[in-house]
Symmetry: C2
Subunit: 322 residues, 2 copies
């Protein structure tokens, strides 16, 4: 099958359609309209076989997660995802794999309102890179740099399940079979918190998604905002499975430094507490206040366990090199 | 070195700055303004070690070419390149390689007026994917679908040198040492024809860049425009080195089906001939009339050698799978 046939069969017509798309897949470039009053948000995330996923992962799961990790970046900016380009590098032409991948990407993109407007298929070790583009009203993007002294620190849903599932799969820890089936979806089928991100525009002072570990990611907000963030370990929201693991002698590490969570952490003035709880109801996403923004100190993130400081090493999270 | 240090050291501040960029590298997503009256053009191109380049290629050449092949897509749409995101997958952290790559990308992007606004560095087999974004006035993008019966077919500069150089390097043909040094830059340092693309807005009826081979690429224009394209082989512009190779018994194959040329082929009504020759002068790019748009037939592209049809096989060009 030629590259052109691949693009024709598996890249065209993927995802939602948009009145703002002028030229889609099939020309030298796609052309889109950014409506007046809106800005364009752009982000890229890559997944490499053997690094971000096991060779055994189903192509449908891969498609779903590739989109989700990118949706998560749009969510963290308060941007509405609209378009994507896909760079797909495959070791060999495999029509069954491509069909499964492309059907799943189509369904996931359609449901997220995202249209695939460009693609490049190349031969090589399996590597998938998606650039996502979204719209945000002028001046309304939620950056990482806006946290202010006295703000609350919030977290959506729970963290740690994906990292915990990975440890079980790698044989580093043991959990009952039922426990793994509870937490595996967090690893294979994360969901970007897009509705939450949109609702937080004008409410959150800073936001980011937790992909590299809660503490490491919060350190970015702290550094860019020139503040320190104080977190209460016992307030960090955990799943029942994670709590059971803790009670049997497990560690907070996967929750605090595991990564791959794709939850939103955000800061907001305390006067926004009621508004935030109302948003939690509307978007049906539990939101937990886990700490506060304090004055800048030598370390960007301070972790307290029952009020007492916990010593952290310099590497607060998952890093691809290091 | 952590991913964050890599991004800080090698991805920030790359390329030109732009008044339209609101948030650059370092947040969950970049945010840019698309000025009123403009549309956004988006394209992605990937380069994989061992497929698109030899492991021995200098990182500076790689950076230069990665940008050039993407600039070429903007040129083919008549779009002004403005922003890029980079997905860089590297087998291991190599500060010298990264510094050379990033310095070259910075220089090339700066000179092209492109700003790097997003990046993702991951570990894995060497693979580089760049998504480029540009601006084009509303309704002025030059698509592949606008060629009309009676139009002329034009080509910029010459074609075939890159494919010929590759054959020499692979030992498939032999040329004098001086010949290779004449044509190697076409392979390692192609240049996107951005100024030409901008000048062709409102003049060309269709355009595309020649990356997969002249005939195969023209077939896309023919198919999308529902016409047939007739090319006169002896009019196809060739370098002196290529002509010498032909005279010593060489073939037209690299020129007609080689690819990797990054020249613009375009169609235009014959009344535009003078305007096109004036554009050629202004942008200092030789433009040659190589054929014409004729009525649709069963085959999209017809090749004539001294007026006589040349039989073509169905595979008109370089394809990554197949």
């Amino acid at each position: 099958m030629s590259e052109f046939s691949i693009i024709d069969r598996f890249c065209k017509g993927i995802g939602a359609t948009s009145e703002h798309t002028v030229i889609g897949v099939g020309d030298d470039a796609a052309v889109v309209n950014v409506p007046s009053g809106m800005q364009l948000a752009v982000s890229v995330d890559t997944m490499v076989e053997g690094v971000h996923f096991f060779p055994s992962v189903a192509p449908a799961d891969l498609a779903y997660k590739l989109l989700a990790v990118n949706l998560s970046d749009m969510a963290a900016m308060g941007a509405e995802p609209k378009w994507a380009t896909l760079a797909l590098t495959l070791p060999h032409e495999d029509a069954a794999w491509l069909a499964a991948f492309s059907n799943a990407l189509d369904a996931a993109a359609e449901s997220a309102g995202v249209q695939l407007i460009g693609g490049d298929t190349t031969k090589g070790p399996l590597c998938l890179s998606l650039t996502i583009m979204g719209l945000v009203p002028k001046g309304k993007a939620i950056s990482r740099a806006g946290a202010e002294f006295g703000d609350d620190v919030w977290l959506s849903n729970t963290v740690g399940d994906a990292a915990l599932a990975l440890k079980v799969i790698l044989g580093q820890i043991e959990l009952p079979e039922s426990a793994l089936s509870n937490i595996a979806p967090a690893l294979h089928r994360p969901t970007g918190q897009v509705a939450l991100g949109l609702a937080l525009r004008g409410v959150a002072s800073a936001a980011l998604d937790i992909s590299d570990g809660l503490l490491a990611d919060l350190a970015h907000v702290a550094s860019l905002s020139q503040v320190c963030i104080e977190i209460h370990q016992e307030r960090v929201p955990l799943s029942d499975t994670y709590r059971a693991y803790l009670q049997s002698g497990g560690s907070y590490e996967s929750a605090l430094a595991g990564g791959d969570d794709y939850q939103l952490a955000f800061t907001a003035p305390s006067k926004q507490r009621e508004a935030i709880l109302a948003i939690s109801d509307v978007v049906s996403v539990p939101l937990t206040r886990i700490g506060s923004v304090v004055e800048k100190t030598a370390i960007p993130v301070r972790l307290l366990a029952n009020g007492k400081p916990v010593k952290l090493n310099s590497d607060l999270g998952f890093q691809h090199f290091g």
